[in-house]
């Protein structure tokens, strides 16, 4: 069970409280987590990555175990701690005012 922490705006949009728990039936990567997240919550499509290019939106960042993986390959396997759910996959909006 993978845990995903959404930023408050996207929690409201997806109508969830707290962390989201997902099962990913593939190698656990940024892409496979986002694919499953968008399948469960279609209203999140286009809010974290572009509909067409699938590139991360500029002011969205992905953190794992305190490390910013936003600029890493979306297909790179994530640590076992993410796959096991002992650490969350954290999605945040960049701190840019507002």
């Amino acid at each position: 069970m993978i845990r995903v922490v959404l930023p408050p705006h996207l929690r409201t949009l997806a109508r969830v409280d707290g962390d989201v728990e997902l099962d990913v039936n593939a190698t656990v990567t940024q892409r496979s987590i986002l694919d499953e997240l968008e399948a469960r919550y279609p209203m999140l499509r286009g809010t974290m990555r572009d509909h067409v290019t699938q590139l991360r939106r500029p002011l969205v960042r992905f953190f794992v175990c305190g490390e910013d993986l936003s600029h890493e390959s979306p297909d790179a396997p994530l640590p076992e701690t993410i796959a096991k759910g002992s650490e969350p996959f954290v999605i945040i909006g960049a701190i840019a005012g507002g």
């Binding site: 930023p7 705006h9 949009l13 919550y41 209203m43 286009g46 809010t47 939106r57 969205v60």
Partner: protein
């Protein structure tokens, strides 16, 4: 007794203000979509319970919201919780997918170079006059989209963006936005749009081909003041009974056309400033129009710090100040282009919202004003529904 529902978009959410036909006691609900910028909220003229909202964020992009019960509940079209449980699989979740048709091409950038078209947000939603499932969206960077399935999916009417003059369009201070969509109630295939800063364009074939309609506009702030495109049109309004007559608030100048935009003449007359953003028409008097003069393009507040709506009962040129109930000193708010609307009661009600968070209403065509609400986030848009 009739009712009025005022749909307000602000920098930090949407609000719905309701009253009976007397328009004295108001109920305020919201914020809906708290924390998000709500550029526009508008109801279908065919089914007033069908309301569309444009919800945007610099972080998370564009969201389209839809209500089918007059604003009580909302869903992103095509991805509501009931549809999520469908045995047919997950819904597509494409209600916020605005993709330009083909190669996006380039437009003029601030420094005169060419810059690629990039979708940023929906500025204006215009529901069809005939079908609640059909709605148009005016977007930044300027283009026109339409949905025929209640906002679940969108298709660009790309003849507009691909017009020969497209490379000459350029962004105004607010971005290169298509902010005005007027559907002709008599000629079903005719649509007027306005773009900052390109000007106005018209289609007579439902959006396939477009023609710039800016003859007579004179803009001293562009290299060729009489250019075919490049004018910073802020707003265009029409009365449903006389769609060949258009009224325009340009960056500077209030203009009028009586030939569907083929030619324009200035009707600024005795206004204290002819800079401003909104312009609207009285519901029952097609020659009675309203503007809110603003001091200048660098000083976005009222002249002499007095908030005055100006009314012309002659379709322009002769204007009277409407001040009763509006602040007449130390007022430094702005009224944005989509933030004025009218109801269709008798007498006609006029409404506008300010960047200071006030929404003012006049139940008597502008003679007397009162704030419905005073301390909302900065108001981006105001639309009014008159309900049975």
């Amino acid at each position: 007794m009739s009712k009025v529902r005022v749909l307000v978009g602000t920098r930090k959410g949407a609000f719905i203000l309701t009253a009976d036909g007397a328009r004295k006691r108001w109920k305020v609900s919201g914020p809906h979509f708290a924390g998000w910028e709500i550029y526009h909220v508008k109801g279908s003229p065919v089914d007033p319970n069908r309301i569309y909202a444009s919800q945007t964020s610099g972080w998370f992009g564009q969201i389209i919201q839809r209500s089918d019960d007059g604003g009580k509940t909302w869903n992103t079209p095509g991805s509501n919780p009931e549809e999520l449980k469908s045995v047919e699989g997950n819904p597509k979740g494409e209600s916020n997918k605005f993709v330009y048709d083909g190669v996006p091409g380039t437009h003029q950038w601030y420094d005169g170079t060419q810059h690629p078209w990039e979708f940023k947000r929906v500025w204006h939603l215009e529901p069809s006059l005939h079908d609640p499932e059909h709605v148009y969206a005016g977007v930044e960077d300027a283009a026109l989209f339409e949905s025929r399935d209640g906002g679940e999916s969108w298709k660009e009417l790309s003849g507009l963006r691909k017009h020969d003059t497209g490379p000459k369009w350029q962004p105004g201070a607010g971005g290169m936005c298509l902010h005005t969509i007027l559907l002709d109630p008599q000629e079903r295939q005719r649509i007027f749009v306005a773009i900052s800063a390109a000007g106005s364009l018209r289609t007579d074939d439902g959006g396939t081909t477009w023609k710039p309609i800016n003859h007579g506009l004179h803009s001293q702030y562009i290299p060729d003041p009489n250019a075919e495109v490049g004018h910073c049109v802020h707003r265009v309004a029409m009365h449903a009974s006389r769609p060949n007559t258009l009224f325009m608030q340009k960056h500077w100048d209030v203009m009028r056309s009586d030939d569907s935009g083929d030619s324009w003449r200035e009707v600024s007359g005795n206004l204290p400033s002819d800079f401003g953003f909104p312009i609207d028409v009285h519901a029952h008097e097609p020659d009675t129009i309203y503007v809110v003069p603003i001091k200048s393009d660098s000083e976005h507040y009222p002249p002499s710090s007095r908030l005055r709506v100006y009314r012309s009962r002659a379709g322009g040129n002769e204007w009277e100040a409407l001040t009763k109930g509006l602040p007449q000193r130390n007022c430094y708010v702005n009224v944005l282009r989509d933030a004025m609307s009218v109801d269709s009661l008798e007498p006609c009600g006029i409404y506008f919202g300010t960047t200071g968070g006030q929404v003012y209403a006049s139940p008597d065509a502008g003679d007397n004003w009162k704030p419905i609400v005073r301390d909302l986030p900065a108001v981006l848009s105001v639309e009014v529904q008159t309900l049975p």
